[in-house]
């Protein structure tokens, strides 16, 4: 019954046109997500690499990024909206705050987990700090780093709905407007499209991961796949 209503909703061409239409909402949603994820990556990846590489401040960083996870996105977004007088920037900042911890954790763990023997060998061969970072630590950190990025993207896609609460677009509109009038088919459609977007984004990132993670690491992962599995933090290969 509810499914029928859902299909009815989906079948109504009015829901597919104009600024309120699904395509536009989806684009808006994707826009917020990409902005937030790129913004967070621009902050978290360099920071994670620096801390992982230098070994300085790891404890502080992990503590801080865990504390960041506790920041309620809704509170942040409403607060920033009032502070910034209704611009989109506040919302994006709220979402960036959401996305930083997983990316930071993934990057840091990736560099940290790089086999100490390998890093040692790199040093012993006469690699400078930069060479070690780019030629050894970054490639080896990629699986966990990408895992963190994918986690962040998932969370942001799911949470970007909050933007609708402060009057922005995105698929959250379907959820919130549907909710106001208890139009479950609309809410469900919103949920469906958000999930769809999340899956698509994850697929794209998984593809990217396949491309940029060096093949040797996959071979190595497969070689140990028999017993102890990939480490806990973040998702690695899907």
């Amino acid at each position: 019954m509810i499914l029928q209503e859902l299909f009815g909703w989906l079948g109504d061409p009015a829901h597919w046109q104009g600024p309120d239409g699904v395509p536009n909402r989806m684009l808006e949603h994707l826009g917020y997500t990409l902005l937030a994820v790129f913004g967070a990556a621009a902050i978290a990846i360099p920071l994670g690499l620096y801390v992982g590489h230098s070994g300085r401040g790891g404890v502080v960083l992990v503590g801080l990024s865990n504390a960041m996870r506790a920041l309620p996105t809704l509170g942040l977004v409403t607060f920033l909206f009032l502070l910034a007088g209704g611009s989109e920037a506040g919302t994006i900042v709220g979402l960036i705050v959401l996305a930083v911890p997983p990316i930071l954790a993934g990057t840091y763990a990736g560099v940290q987990d790089t086999d100490r023997g390998v890093v040692d060998a790199a040093r012993g061969m006469g690699m400078t700090g930069w060479q070690r970072l780019w030629q050894v630590e970054v490639p080896n950190a990629l699986p966990l780093l990408m895992g963190g990025l994918r986690n962040a993207a998932l969370q942001v896609v799911a949470t970007a709905s909050v933007a609708a609460y402060v009057g922005l677009g995105g698929l959250g509109r379907l959820l919130l407007d549907g909710l106001r009038v208890i139009d479950y088919s609309k809410v469900l459609a919103g949920a469906l499209f958000i999930a769809l977007l999340a899956v698509l984004l994850d697929l794209v990132l998984a593809g990217l991961q396949r491309i940029i993670v060096p093949r040797g690491l996959r071979v190595a992962a497969a070689a140990v796949a028999g017993r102890p599995k990939a480490r806990s933090s973040g998702r690695t290969e899907s």
Partner: protein, 369 residues
């Protein structure tokens, strides 16, 4: 040449890892550091390529104080092989080996060509170059590690327990290869192990460290076994050191004896050289190529081919020209008391008795006195 001058390393937590080390590692030799776990072998080694900086004292490489050189550049001139090989999992074997040449600014093509050459030198198939480290066995990984360290043709090679992760048989093969390589390439190699057998096998000189980073003895292996500096060294080199020491005594003057032999098909081959021991005669059975197959006890007479059950398996074989240790063991392990001596191709050339070995040892001992 590597020179440690009054080198001490104390870590921040107060551990003294190396204590006032004075030592000269000769150019073109394999020098081995041995000692119990935690005695400062790795620390000493890593002070040579500035992975660790001494607390006091000076390290010279080829007469030059290493503090004066840029660490990265210094390290490119010093090959370094570590226990777990430390290969880059994200690069192919070929690219692993090509790393240092690339760092030193070679073109990719030239670096790869050099890498391919090195794979051959360490006995790996060229096809392996395309694989990733995870696709190699432990022994193969070790070879790649050695090849990588050799890539820029560094005059000095530091090896920290490079073979400890592989099983004994493979390990012996790797040791042989290292000796062969050294003969060909003439590097200055510092090799760390905590296995005294490995040390005396490959070292031209051996440095024994004791806990606290003190050098207990620094000598040639034969000297170490025959003349340990103190109780610590003598207990560390083990209780079989008299026997092990025979590895360093050449068997030059030994007179081979003969024994009656027969072919696998029952044909009498020879008996011309007189048996060097008395008592009833054993017969050595040889195969068509002249390689020993086993003994027939005295009194056993076979017509035609000796059956497998009638043959007593032989002892270990002694290859002519090698150290006395093998000769003694051949004699002791032979059911006839006659150690079988073979040439490099494994063909029977004569027999030797434990008595002869003992006599030779006694003679040498008297000469030395």
């Amino acid at each position: 040449m590597i020179e440690f001058q009054a080198v001490t390393k104390r870590f921040d937590d107060g551990t003294t890892a190396v204590d006032n080390l004075d030592m000269v590692v000769e150019a073109g030799t394999i020098t081995v550091f041995v000692g119990p776990s935690g005695c400062g072998k790795t620390t000493s080694l890593r002070m040579v390529n500035r992975m660790i900086e001494p607390t006091s004292g000076t390290v010279l490489v080829d007469g030059e104080d290493i503090r004066k050189s840029n660490p990265a550049l210094l390290r490119r001139r010093i090959g370094y092989v570590i226990q777990q090989a430390g290969l880059f999992p994200h690069r192919t074997v070929l690219d692993n080996v090509a790393t240092v040449p690339l760092l030193s600014g070679w073109t990719r093509r030239k670096a790869r060509a050099r890498a391919a050459e090195l794979l051959e030198i360490v006995g790996l198939d060229a096809a392996m170059g395309k694989r990733y480290p995870a696709q190699l066995s432990g022994g193969q990984q070790q070879r790649v590690g050695v090849a990588r360290a050799l890539a820029a043709d560094p005059p000095v090679l530091l090896m920290d327990e490079p073979f400890s992760a592989v099983d004994p048989v493979v390990r012996e093969g790797l040791q042989d290869e290292l000796l062969r390589l050294q003969a060909d390439l003439d590097k200055t190699i510092v090799f760390v192990t905590h296995d005294i057998d490995e040390a005396v096998r490959i070292g031209e000189k051996v440095a024994v460290f004791r806990k606290g980073g003190v050098l207990a003895q620094y000598a040639a292996p034969a000297e170490l076994l025959s003349n340990p500096a103190d109780d610590f060294v003598s207990s560390f080199v083990g209780k079989d050191r008299g026997y092990r020491g025979l590895s360093f005594l050449q068997a030059d003057g030994i007179q081979l004896g003969g024994v009656s032999t027969m072919g696998l098909h029952g044909e009498h081959l020879s008996g011309e050289r007189p048996s060097t021991v008395g008592g009833p005669d054993w017969t050595l059975v040889l195969d068509d190529d002249g390689r020993p197959r086993g003994w027939l006890p005295p009194g056993v007479v076979v017509q035609g081919e000796p059956a497998e059950e009638e043959l007593r398996p032989g002892g270990s074989l002694y290859t002519e020209g090698t150290a006395l240790r093998g000769a003694l063991d051949a004699a002791l392990s032979s059911p006839s008391g006659l150690g079988v001596v073979v040439d490099d191709d494994g063909r029977y050339t004569g027999v030797v008795t434990a008595q002869q070995v003992i006599d030779l040892i006694e003679e040498r001992r008297k000469d030395a006195a």
